[in-house]
């Protein structure tokens, strides 16, 4: 079973629809047991880092997710779901993230427009993630103001250029996460989602 973490943070329904289109049944859930039983957990998100962390903490989902990740369940973060995996973000100073990956999220500096909105080409910098299924220089749809600055560069598997390289995707053991929205990136995005959940019962 594929589970999508439903914690009231934006784009969960569009991820569900994209998986349905690909023929995968996924459940939208905040139930700890269902999440723990899942063969694959997707962790989408849109919105404010601080508000999302507060919600995860208030519901105890933060510890549930950390347990799932520790047990080795394949785990896919999307957009804010990538940023929350890090130690923190300038969007919410003093609020600790999940801390699965070392590093911090920072806002794009001027004169770049924020949010970055649109299709950006992604460059794979390290093999061994679902990004391997993606063609070279493939374009994906980004919508974000903050980007992750990984303390351990080896966690970064793909970058994109917004007047300078930034983290587009990360991978560490069973955890993969994308800053862009595969569920809104047309065929390229559907292909990546498919690669992410491949091998899991649908």
């Amino acid at each position: 079973m594929i589970a999508i973490v439903d914690y009231g943070a934006g784009n969960v329904a569009s991820v569900h629809k994209a998986l349905a289109y690909l023929g995968h049944h996924a459940v939208l859930t905040a139930d700890p047991r269902q999440l723990r039983d899942a063969d694959h957990v997707l962790f989408p998100g849109q919105g404010h880092f601080g508000q999302a962390m507060t919600r995860l903490r208030d519901t105890g989902l933060d510890r549930v997710l950390l347990g799932i990740i520790e047990r080795g369940t394949p785990f896919t973060g999307i957009c804010l779901g990538l940023q929350l995996l890090f130690d923190g973000s300038d969007e919410a100073p003093g609020v600790a993230g999940l801390g699965v990956l070392r590093g911090h999220c920072a806002a794009f500096a001027a004169p770049r427009k924020i949010p970055q909105i649109g299709w950006n080409s992604v460059r794979i910098v390290r093999p061994g993630s679902p990004m391997d299924a993606v063609a070279a220089q493939e374009h994906f749809y980004f919508v974000h103001t903050y980007h992750a600055v990984a303390a351990d560069p080896v966690d970064v598997v793909a970058v994109a250029d917004y007047e300078g390289d930034f983290t587009a995707a990360v991978q560490n053991a069973n955890v993969f996460a994308a800053q862009f929205h595969p569920e809104k990136s047309g065929r390229a995005g559907l292909g990546l989602l498919s690669a992410c959940v491949r091998g899991h019962p649908c």
Binding site: Q46, W119, H139
Partner: protein, 260 residues
Amino acid sequence: MLTRRIIPCLDIEAGRVVKGVNFLGLRDAGDPVALAERYDAEGADELTFLDIRASDQGRDILLDLVTRVSQRLFIPFTVGGGLRSVEDMRTVLLAGADKVSLGTAAVRDPQLVAHAANQFGHQCIVVSLDVRRIGGRFELTSHGGRASTGIDAVAFASHVAALGAGELLVNDMDADGTERGFGHELNRRIAQAVRIPVIASGGAGKVADFSQAVIEGGVDAVLAASVFHYRKMTIADVKQDMARRGIPVRPIQPQNLSAM
């Protein structure tokens, strides 16, 4: 590199596309979902659905349309037309839209932009500005360009950007329908006044107009309706011209969905 976006706009009334559409091979050219899929296949970077006569009656039909589009189409899409409240926006977003576009409602009550951004995040709030040149300045109009507001368009753009708009859609009402090109001076002045993406709309007539909107107007995206509907040009034509002039665009993807 971040690419410039090409956004076809579909004018909807009671769930149907109203502007005549010249697509060959479509069973029903008035069906927004079929058209949306066609534009997706042709390389549209996003889509916008504009409910041109938003009525309470039409709203349910629109919501049904939004749901159907979101089940079949996996590129971002924006819905606008007659959204007056945070609740209106919520229903459209829950139905599956990625962004909402606010026009007259934002002119009447700019704080609505702030409320919406707080509720849904900046990224899904597009503020649509209908602008006319009056004397030496650009003035905001409302109700589809019919009502004058006396508000300076550039100042208003800065104001709604500060309130939390994620993007601005600038409709040049003087250029709209003329097919003489986008209003570069207007676009440039707004693009220079804000730090959020600007989408140009109104005036597309030939392929080069799109590139000029980026080069001279400094916009991040270009929206058009008729020129695409009537097959005066394709999205591929526009992207080719842009690429030739060194403007980054997303290449049109081959259709290989069946391989997944």
